[in-house]
């Protein structure tokens, strides 16, 4: 065996290499404060390993990026663990970078003859920040998309080259396929290669000049191997343990909690989300809120705030080795660094606090959490993700779009369970019915209640308050005897059955006999056909057609044109003709109708969707 190793060593000189690597001399012994550089090399290696495996499954295009990340996270063996480690190790690297920088500056390891190594280190800091920025976009979810939009817009503000630079980085004017492929090329190719090159140079220079040992020496001199290596490994283990803790954190105390890194809903340029960078750039985001302090200066305050101010701080950092030549230089450098870190910490905390107290921001965060859960359910449904991508799943989902459409177009007059369907109270008083549970037996029973029909919940806020229907209910229905009450009950069952609501399919099937009786009541005994039509033709009808009442087709018809002869005709109160006037597309009207009827996808085993009164 030894002859083989001798042969190998003679040809490659590997023993000398290993010796150089392992037996670095450390005056004063191994110390915990020296571990940060190694933890950074370790975390970078973890990112390369996990990144390579992720690369096997990730697909950078605006129609497949989110989808491939969703697949890794929820469909692949251990995908959540792999992605979780990659995500949280990136966060850890940002913290380790600061610790390493702090130790290097405090211990004076940046001073001559180590200036160039220090600059290489600052270069590595920039490259890792670039890796964070490019990586954040790759899942193409709402958070990543809007955060990167802001970042690239800031880039575009750079004087002279800004707009061109932005176009090159974004791959055009719009954010799409090419943005992803360019960012991915940067993230997986260009930047890691640059980091590897700089790390090699960084370690070479560090070894050339030797470690800047911290005085006073506490222990006898030691070698890198095994003493410092052991400390480095323990530190790496602690970092990995922290990363793994964050990966499983939300599942630890909650059986139903999610595993791994979160994945927001797919990027949707038409669905705004208040853009925020990842937490380690929040300080810059917060700083830019104060950019108007620069308004006294010539030029755009944003250039001063986003480019010049950070540029000045970076320049001072680069100049630290030169500044250190002065007697007070080192003290200045250490103080400056602490001040910068304190400011960064303060700005970060301020940003987090302001967001926490911002009701609109919190509502937006809750919405994307809801949407993320919903799109995941839809993606797992039998119809899966269409070729147009997962963003269409949410855009065509009545449960997601219905409330927003209602709040925007209907809640000016109508209500939904007392509010605007998004939980907010509109400022004007209601001037049309509350549509929660529309066409259910419960809703109709309230309608035919003499005490309720003239309330704002039904016709009370409309001109029909003085109309024939209200009079009929308040005068005639109020005096109903038992037989007539039974007939009315059956009529309500029959009318509700016209809607064919998903949640009422079982009761409607059970009460088939009542429906037959009810139809007879409508056409014969109760006198409805004096004004309405119901499975018959009557040109003199003065009230809406009840055929297919509450069905998808009927609802779409009345939303599209309430003033049509089939519905309110010339008696239409104030309801806009959404379809006729083009205010809503067919697709949107369909989404509203489906939502009002409880027709949206639910997985098997979940109770059929429906509006409970």
């Amino acid at each position: 065996m030894k002859w083989l190793l001798d042969w190998l060593d003679h040809r490659t000189g590997y023993r000398q290499l290993i010796h150089e690597a392992l037996y670095e001399h450390i005056p004063g012994g191994a110390r915990w404060r020296y571990v940060w550089g190694s933890t950074l090399t370790f975390t970078f290696t973890v990112q390369i390993i996990t990144g390579l495996f992720l690369w096997l499954a990730y697909n950078p295009s605006s129609q497949t990026a989110w989808e491939s990340v969703y697949y890794i996270q929820y469909q692949m063996w251990g995908g959540w663990l792999l992605r979780g480690i990659h995500h949280y190790t990136a966060q850890a690297m940002n913290i380790l970078l600061v610790l390493h920088l702090l130790q290097v500056v405090i211990d004076g390891a940046y001073k001559a003859p180590r200036e160039i190594n220090f600059w290489f280190g600052l270069g590595l800091l920039g490259l890792v920040m670039g890796l964070s920025l490019t990586g954040y976009l790759l899942p193409w979810d709402q958070k990543g998309y809007w955060a990167t939009k802001v970042a690239t817009n800031i880039m575009g503000v750079t004087p002279v080259i800004g707009p061109a630079l932005q176009k090159i980085v974004v791959g055009g004017v719009d954010y799409g396929h090419h943005t992803l492929s360019r960012f991915f090329a940067l993230h997986a190719g260009v930047l890691p290669a640059a980091v590897v090159a700089l790390i090699a140079a960084h370690i070479y220079l560090f070894r050339k000049h030797g470690i800047t040992a911290r005085r006073p020496y506490r222990k006898p001199d030691a070698r890198f191997w095994p003493d410092q290596v052991l400390m480095d490994c323990v530190a790496c283990l602690a970092v990995l343990a922290a990363v793994l803790f964050f990966v499983v954190r939300r599942r630890l105390f909650d059986e139903a909690g999610p595993l791994g890194a979160e994945l927001g809903p797919p990027a949707d340029p038409s669905e705004p989300f208040p853009a925020r960078p990842e937490w380690y750039f929040l300080f810059l985001f917060q700083f830019l809120k104060y950019q108007n302090v620069f308004s006294a200066l010539p030029g755009s305050p944003e250039v001063w705030g986003a480019i010049v101010a950070p540029g000045v701080v970076t320049a001072i950092l680069f100049l630290q080795p030169v500044i250190a030549r002065r007697r007070w230089g080192h003290a200045f450098n250490v103080t400056f660094l602490w001040c910068v870190l304190a400011a960064v910490a303060a700005l970060t905390i301020l940003a987090i606090q302001q967001d926490r107290n911002d009701a609109d921001y919190q509502a937006a965060v809750r919405k994307i959490e809801r949407d993320a859960g919903r799109v995941r359910k839809l993606a797992q449904s039998p119809s899966g993700i269409p070729p147009t991508g997962a963003v269409t799943l949410l855009r065509n989902d009545p449960l997601t779009q219905g409330p927003a459409l209602f709040a925007k177009n209907c809640a000016g007059c109508h209500r939904y369970g007392g509010h605007d369907a998004l939980g907010r109270k509109p400022k004007d008083a209601p001037s049309a019915a509350d549509l929660k549970g529309f066409a259910t037996r419960e809703w109709l029973t309230g309608f035919f209640d003499p005490k309720q029909i003239a309330e704002p919940h039904y016709y009370g806020a409309t001109k029909f308050k003085e109309g024939k229907m209200v009079r009929f209910v308040q005068r005639d229905v109020a005096k109903y005897g038992d037989t007539e009450k039974l007939a009315l009950t059956n009529a309500i069952i029959a009318l509700s059955a016209e809607a064919g609501l998903k949640a009422r399919r079982e009761p409607d099937a059970r009460d088939a006999a009542a429906i037959v009786e009810g139809r007879k009541a409508i056409t014969d005994t109760l006198g409805c056909l004096d004004c309405h039509t119901f499975h018959n033709k009557d040109e003199d009808a003065t009230a809406p057609d009840l055929t297919g009442y509450g069905s998808r087709e009927w609802l779409m018809g009345i939303i599209a044109d309430a003033a049509h002869a089939r519905f309110y005709g010339k008696r239409n109160d104030r309801m806009p003709r959404f379809g006729v006037d083009g205010a809503l597309t067919d697709r949107e009207i369909g989404l509203l109708a489906d939502w009002l009827r409880g027709e949206w996808y639910e997985a098997d085993g979940v109770k059929a969707a429906g509006h409970k009164p």
Binding site: L56, T64, S68, W77, G78, L82, C233
Partner: protein
């Protein structure tokens, strides 16, 4: 203060046992922290092994009886079906092709166009009245059996289950089979 980078053997005054423990721990912990991220990736790497054919083997409507010539000439038809590609569900995407030919007034034979040797697309030659694979010159008779004795194909062209529905629709249970082996094993 600079320390010269001395190249020497380890400090001989350290007790051997402590040195060994330190080395063992360093190597052990170093190994653990490297293996964990790699192991996390292994699942994703090997994930395809546990995936069965997501598209299954269902009867797919191909054409009608009228489209097939009465003299039993084979005709090629594209097979279009709902297809699952990882995360995407394609409605009605091309998934393959078959040769259909009449073997009787209401009976059809369906052959997968893929050559069982290495997977090339087999052509039909009307002049020679048989199938020809352009890759390694196998020829197959109209019923799919191998014609030329030196054909490298391990088995005849793969026949597929056919069902006639409503007296005129031709439905085929479309499947692909493993190339290069004697047995007709469905790809799963």
């Amino acid at each position: 203060m600079d320390s010269p980078n001395k190249v020497e053997s380890p400090d001989p005054s350290s007790p051997e046992r402590r040195c060994f423990l330190t080395k063992a721990l360093a190597a052990g912990i170093g190994g653990v922290v490297t293996v964990i991220p790699a192991a996390a990736g292994l699942g994703v790497l090997l994930d395809p092994l546990r995936r069965a054919n997501a598209n299954g083997a269902n009867l797919i409507r191909i054409t009608t009886l009228e489209a097939l010539p009465e003299d039993g000439t084979p005709v090629k038809f594209a097979v279009v079906a709902d297809k699952t590609d990882a995360w995407t569900r394609h409605p009605q995407a091309p998934v393959g092709a078959v040769y259909l030919r009449r073997t009787g007034p209401k009976t059809i034979q369906a052959l997968n166009v893929v050559c069982p040797h290495a997977g090339c697309f087999v052509d039909y030659s009307p002049d020679r009245g048989e199938f020809l694979c352009p890759c390694h010159n196998s020829s197959f008779k109209l019923d799919g059996t191998i014609d030329n004795p030196d054909s490298p194909s391990p088995r005849p062209l793969d026949s597929l289950e056919v069902a006639i529905r409503n007296d005129k629709e031709v439905w085929v249970k479309f499947q692909n089979f493993r190339a290069g082996v004697h047995e007709k094993i469905p790809e799963a």
